[in-house]
Symmetry: C2
Subunit: 338 residues, 2 copies
């Protein structure tokens, strides 16, 4: 493979001049520039980004660690991150942590060794020593979608409080009084905050929420299914179940269907995370929609801010309620555009 030295020889100039052409340094004559370009074309030259990175101490690469690319929420996030990064001239390396702390750490380590310029992490529930250590400033780091309590890192996420209050009001208006909530792990902001918002809204509507109605899942489908099963087996099962993410909603849907129950007649369902297929099932699933793509794009901008020496400001964007049919029919819904 041709190196800069070969191009220089072919063009009859020094390697410095070729490097200047590569980096669009204006102090190269038009004529020399052309000769160099011709030489590059003739030799089919491809600059070696590895060598460049070693010298410049910058890889123009970002690392992104997500729960699982098979989860449509993370897929959309990843897509947005990649789009925004590409526009800024960066490449993204994605790691699937699979909601496991050890695999998350594997990718953190690998990406740091690869010297990514910045790291975007959707952290798992557990605060690992490695993540804590990196949060001290080893590399620019931004938490995406979730924050970890006790770890000071700029974050980009959605706030669902208002939307959750709207959802509770919606359920209440449809006559549901016994509402259960399946949250994510309490160490994650997405678990803790959503639970608090739910309980607050329920209290405001004078709804009593027994402890058995507030459950903790792990953001995976099986836990949604298991917990739904347990809820439906209660002596007094809930009239509505609100799932903390789309995968647990999928599990809940399966469980309800397996039991031959009707939605929303026998039990109403709602979910955090609006994903495309919610709009294609019968009945369509009422959900709280996060500005997913925007979260991804903003996260990249925050990292780029840090990289260019600006201060990093955390970003919180509002989530919105998208009313469909899975909680019941009513004349009061808003129409959903899609």
């Amino acid at each position: 493979m041709a190196r800069i030295k070969d191009v220089a020889a072919q063009a009859g100039v020094s390697v410095a001049t070729v490097s200047r052409v590569l980096n669009n340094n204006p102090s190269v004559t038009e004529e020399t520039r052309n000769r160099v370009h011709d030489a590059m074309a003739a030799l089919n030259y491809r600059p070696n980004a590895v060598a460049r990175s070693l010298r410049t101490e910058a890889t123009r690469t970002l690392g992104l660690i997500i729960g699982d690319i098979l989860n449509p929420f993370f897929a959309e996030l990843a897509r947005a991150v990649e789009d925004e990064a590409r526009e800024a001239g960066y490449t993204v390396i994605i790691g699937n942590a699979d909601e496991r702390a050890d695999q998350q750490d594997h990718y953190v380590r690998t990406l740091l060794e690869q010297r990514v310029d910045g790291l975007l992490i959707c952290p798992t529930a557990e605060v690992t020593p490695l993540v804590e250590e990196v949060s001290l400033g080893e590399r620019p780091l931004v938490f995406l979608d979730r924050t970890l309590s006790g770890v000071e890192v700029p974050s980009v996420r959605a706030d669902g409080s208002t939307a959750i209050a709207e959802l509770v009001a919606h359920l209440r208006a449809l006559g549901h009084r016994r509402i259960a909530f399946v949250s994510g792990p309490s160490t994650l902001s997405t678990g803790r905050e959503r639970t608090e918002a739910f309980l607050r809204a329920a209290a405001e509507h004078g709804l009593e929420v027994p402890e058995t109605y507030v459950r903790v899942g792990d953001f995976r489908a099986v836990s949604g299914q298991r917990i739904t099963s347990e809820l439906l087996d209660l002596p007094e099962p809930p009239q509505a179940i609100f799932l903390g993410d789309n995968l647990m909603a999928l599990g809940a849907l399966d469980e309800v269907r397996e039991r031959g129950l009707e939605i929303p007649g026998d039990v109403a369902l709602a979910s955090f995370d609006d994903v495309p297929w919610f709009n294609h099932v019968q009945p369509r699933i009422t959900a709280i929609s996060q500005p997913t793509a925007e979260l991804g794009r903003r996260a990249v901008r925050v990292i780029l801010d840090v990289l260019s020496g600006r201060a990093a400001e955390s970003v919180v964007l509002p989530a919105t309620l998208v009313v469909r049919e899975s909680c019941g029919e009513s004349g009061t819904w808003k129409e959903d555009g899609s």
Copy 2:
């Protein structure tokens, strides 16, 4: 950030010894090894993969270029590629070509500059000069899911012929005689071969397929919707529509629903690419399922074979028909496990 030199100084050895410890060279004394490990821990040393790659001319990184990570088929493919690569000690960089040749080329160029050890490409319809050039052997290259006519590159893909024949038989058994097929671009194996298999199967069942029933889409939802609309507007619309991938099926589903038509009563639908949500819509969509994850894993193994000097053998795995309800009810179906 600590360098190997710092570790060497701290441990009172030379950089060569530290390097030997890093690479598990057995000729280092137990005692020295421990001293070096202690020094690494004390300095929080992280080996610089960029420097290592420059010297060893290997990055232990693979490039994967897919149509779009938002397409569940590609997401599953990417996930499998990443899992298999990780197990072999490789990192994967994913690029979304968005079914656009220019963006595909952007990633091919970028990944080559990053010196990925191998490239897995799900090629877009157009054979670009760049891809052709790379196919000549610049880097190990494997085509995934699709092949390009006229480009000699090992490939890993599914063969749907048998499953398509089964699908046509299934449709025929349910009484459908007018069957339309929406294929992908004819320059792609996934377009060409599926069309041929469909026409052959139709002929075997004595079905006449007018030209207006064989359409070419672009593997995106809008084209599925548009073509479905055109098909339904024909003086003699088809009784069943078979879509060449899951996104076009999504578009078709939307179009049928918008017109208030019943599936399968007014029109039957079937799709290539089985994706999870096909099993959660009403009626559940009959589809041809590819061994997606296996395709991804095998592709990585083929690339690793090439990297270790072994001969690369193309892999073709069979796709299978998964009968559900979107083509009609009948006592003769096979049950689908999920």
